[in-house]
Subunit: 640 residues, 2 copies
């Protein structure tokens, strides 16, 4: 794949070293960065506050305590001692720095800024003269640099450095880390390339990171290098293919099924989507569509979690979605959001934002405890009561991924085209979106995700004609819309959006009503473990039953057919959640003594309480289940 | 445990070397041997015919073809060559001989008789001068005899020799094999004992076999030796305990939970029940009760299969009864019948006969194909379509166990006390039961298990007062009874039997009506895989859904709540079976394209057909399921 004509014209813009970015030219959407979105709601705002006050300091402390920070000082010769930990631990520091930078961007904090500068100083000092930077190799195997691209994650760590550097530069305007990143990128670029050394990272990440570095620096070589790494993948050019665990079994444009390590796949395809948006490469775009269908129609948990298997931290076969043993790594959920966000921008199609929402509110958010200091690595959909979040992991990818992801949530709310604003998520707050002709202030008022009523106040700087596209979530039926108090009849969606094209003036009001009945969801019958079971969903929130709310045991409950389900908001519970209540049959009733089998009998239903899945395991430990058997629970008159 | 007073008085009878047996004195029941029961029904009679015409010759042929027979000739020096196969292959030959003897007992057959004599001649020739007999040790490790009681099954093989010898002697009156058995038993008795060598078999079997040998010979040493082996079990006397895999973790009278290898457990406890019936040993009797409750209330499949785990061919923890991976070895089912039959005799309690019936008609009978020449080793309760009976196994315990068990089915129909006849199974045919005062001819007329109407014609040789006890199956509600045409009101059962004590005269007629509605059965909620599922049962027959009857797929079917289930007899199907038909929702309906999850929706029910579990895998291969999800399958109106 060569750089297309379109790209060349983009690159003509030349090196841009301000926050103004090089723009993609493929006719997709542009993001509205989280820095332009102020979240002021009951749901996300307190969580983001927790991330800032708890999760970031917690991560910094653990990076310190576990030697992750001092590895750089040691590599720089500023400190005595051996490398500590796993060979890719540098990446954790970069991810925490990235998170810190995002938080600095929205909340200036002198002390944090200073702390970040100190860490950056160590990192910079650890960089070798030729630009190489990896504390493990410098300290442990200085002669083995670039000898094991498949397993040793040097390029992966470099990618996270680049992301951190871009974030830090954007947040602070300081080039300290960006210069380090560029110097390392230059070193990598001088080492790898079509006419240099061939090779690809075993763990993808650098591809999307190089695109970011290109966007902020305008340095064409970085974009070409990203393309090179993608183009090499699955091609046996002077090296042995890594196989499908690393998505390196065939060229990307020939791939059709998701396979291998889930996080790697998501990072890779995020990079592919980035490049596809820039070049319009049809091979890449078609491959993404095939793979997306494979994931979303066959290999995704209802929580949006992906990668069912612990053995490869990744994918198996279609419909293999066991509940108890679901791996569904938190990092993979984050990757799923990164990828689907890019696909949404690429295609301006709400089905990708539907996935973003599903993951975000369920299988991603579950990764973080309400107190902000414990993390799930693995996100099962059922538990016997022994699965709990931990403060840290030896392989700390998930805690550090959470801290860099969460501050960016606002970046998923809107997207824009030249003359259109896309509303992808409903989150109360204020935002300013730049269009070609004007800038538009948007104020969302809503109690989403607990309530589907959304009021959007539109305030263009000057009255202007543009399109506002409102995503109608796939879970929603019978959405209703009012414009300045007048009902809009016959809502039509195009690619999942209701599009309102008009001349907008200051104070125009959109009122969107997204009814949120409680839904019983069934899974595709090929998902064997879910046959005869239902999951409860309300709006975007997937629910689960926890032992603590249900008399100590939930795995023996059967939801009765005639159960009336009701929603009740409990502000005091789990940071404020809407619970679902209904009747279930305690399959474990009194008269099982001395019986292993019996004729189905009438049982007195008991009330159960379901809580949002993301919030489970924040109270007394106990059983949990998302998919609950559903049956009548009453006796059936039989004929012979 | 010492021989109790009761036993001593029994043994005072002295050596009895005719078919008249030494009787137990513990106040239990005595068996009515299958030789006194002529089966003339549509269900068992054709199967027994198949066993005689197909299964026995098939087993003999495979014993021949696999070197099992010639191992004896080689050990005897009558043939050149090395030992072939597994070290316990002798036991297969003994089991086939046992089966052949049972068939000779009811169907004299000169050719078979001659063939059996020839095999016995080889076996006798292989016996060493001191009585030792084991072709593996003689040929392979002649210096290692009795060095590995735990693993090498010498005592196990000896036990099967004894059972075969007793059967052959009873069937033919010939002492050829019995003499071999006694000589070997004498050798073992001279080797092991309280004041000789301590030790127990790793695989139990010899205990119950020694009791049989004692019954037919009256030789007290054999009974004492059986008791010795039981008494040693779980006691560390000059040897290391084998652990719970071999039920050798604690003394039998201290055991409370079933554990380890299922077949071993069943053979052991059958021997224990035998001894308990003779001695009245309370420690043994109480242990059997505790263990029985553990098995039947916590660890038994609805088919009567036991031992869920392949890893130990045995038991795990309570309620661990997975369907797809159910091991439920055919031999273990046979063992379950042997044990429960003995407990029924011991306690005159129908709950044990209930288990016999459950196992017999389901998880045991499934072991044999309808054509009589293929066998399940493993009897799962669900299949993806790849589990099939095979003509033989390298470890051939199951095929050879089937051929020795099936001819004895008639022996489970009746039992007797001094002045009472117990009807445990309902099988059309004729029988003569000896009571103290008279002999009674009983003629059962019934289409059981397809129909619960049973007519029993009672013909005592002379009018006499005795009790006829009719088992009311645990599955049956609202049984009705007529005596000489007059309804008996208020049927009362004692220990599961309706007891009719009167002066019986020639031609008295009992009419028993056991209604057989189709029942939906649910499992104890702790059986995780069955939550929300039901099994269908009608009379004693457990049903399953096979792909061949249901459009190629059954694992996606959900039985609807309002499904009317009907029974229909199909004489042409599977040797004549009653099928169950009803409505199920094809969870796999048309509109799943592009969906992995959806709101539960209205589905058009389709008719399903269920067939008896025992008869599955006799047609086109395909999926099978016993436990079927049950739910409404219709949409649920929700409120918020």
């Amino acid at each position: 794949m060569k750089l297309g004509k379109t790209l060349v014209s983009v690159l003509m813009i030349g090196v841009v070293c301000s926050t103004a970015e090089v723009q993609s030219q493929y006719q997709g959407l542009s993001p509205v960065p989280f820095t332009d979105v102020r979240i002021e709601d009951e749901f996300w705002a307190p969580k983001l506050e927790t991330v800032r006050e708890k999760t970031l300091p917690h991560n910094l402390e653990f990076c310190e305590r576990t030697g992750r920070l001092s590895n750089f000082a040691k590599a720089a010769g500023l400190m005595e001692g051996e490398f500590r930990g796993i060979y890719f631990n540098d990446s954790d520091v970069y991810k925490v720095l990235e998170g810190a930078a995002y938080l600095l961007a929205s909340h200036p904090d002198k002390e944090l800024d200073k702390q970040v500068d100190e860490i950056i100083a160590w990192i910079a000092a650890a960089q070798q003269d030729d630009g190489y930077l990896n504390s493990y190799y410098t300290l442990v195997e200085p002669d083995k640099k670039w000898t094991n691209l498949k397993d040793k994650h040097e390029l992966y760590c470099a990618g996270h450095l680049f992301e951190a550097a871009v974030a830090h530069y954007r947040a602070t305007g300081k080039r300290t880390l960006l210069d380090v990143a560029c110097k390392f990128a230059d070193h990598i670029d001088s080492t790898f390339g079509p006419d240099k050394r061939h090779g690809v990272p075993g763990h993808e990440e650098i591809e999307l990171a190089l695109v970011k570095l290109w966007r902020v620096t305008g340095e064409e070589r970085y974009l070409k290098l990203a393309q090179f790494f993608l183009d090499e993948r699955g091609r046996e050019r002077g090296r042995r293919l890594y196989g499908d665990y690393c998505q390196d079994h065939k060229p990307i444009e020939e791939q059709s099924e998701i396979c291998g390590h889930a996080v790697r796949a998501m990072y890779l395809y995020s990079g592919v989507a980035d490049i596809a948006a820039i070049t319009g490469d049809k091979g890449y775009i078609d491959a993404m569509e095939r793979i997306w269908r494979d994931v979303v129609f066959r290999k995704m948990y209802i929580t949006g979690g992906i990668g069912p298997s612990a053995s490869n931290e990744g994918f198996t076969v279609a419909y293999d979605l066991p509940n108890d043993s679901a791996y569904a790594e938190t990092c993979a959920s984050i990757g799923m959001v990164l990828w689907n966000h890019r696909l949404n921008l690429l295609h301006a199609d709400a089905r990708f934002a539907d996935v973003v929402e599903r993951v975000l509110y369920n299988g991603l958010l579950s990764g973080l405890s309400l107190d902000g200091e414990r993390f799930f690595y693995v996100n099962p959909l059922a538990s016997q009561g022994k699965h709990h979040r931990k403060p840290w992991y030896n392989c700390a990818c998930c805690p550090t991924n959470v801290v860099r992801f969460m501050p960016t949530v606002g970046g998923y709310v809107y997207a824009r085209s030249e003359d259109g604003i896309y509303v992808n998520l409903y989150v109360a707050g204020q935002s300013t979106v730049q269009l070609n002709d004007t800038s538009v202030k948007l104020t969302q008022q809503t109690r989403y995700p607990w309530d589907g009523n959304v009021k959007i106040i539109v305030e263009p700087k000057v009255p202007a004609t543009f399109e506002i596209c409102l995503r109608i979530p796939a879970w929603c039926e019978n959405a209703r819309l009012k414009l300045n108090g007048n009902a809009v009849h016959k809502l039509e969606t195009v690619k999942g959006y209701v599009r309102i094209n008009r001349k907008w003036k200051d104070g125009d009001i959109i009122e969107l009503e997204l009814p949120m009945p409680i839904e019983r969801i069934e899974a595709h019958p090929n998902v064997k473990g879910n046959v005869g079971r239902v999951a409860l969903q309300r709006g975007p929130i997937v629910y689960c039953l926890e032992a603590v709310d249900n008399g100590g045991s939930v795995r023996q409950l059967v939801v009765t057919r005639d159960a009336k389900l009701t929603a009740e908001h409990r502000p005091e519970l789990l940071g404020g959640v809407t619970v679902i209540k209904g009747n279930a049959v305690p399959a474990s009733s009194e008269d099982w003594e001395g019986k292993l089998y019996r004729k189905v009998s009438k049982c007195r239903p008991i009330e159960f309480v379901a809580v949002p899945y993301y919030a489970w395991d924040n109270r007394e430990p106990g059983e949990m289940a998302v998919w609950v058997p559903e049956n009548s629970g009453t006796s059936i008159p039989e004929t012979q």
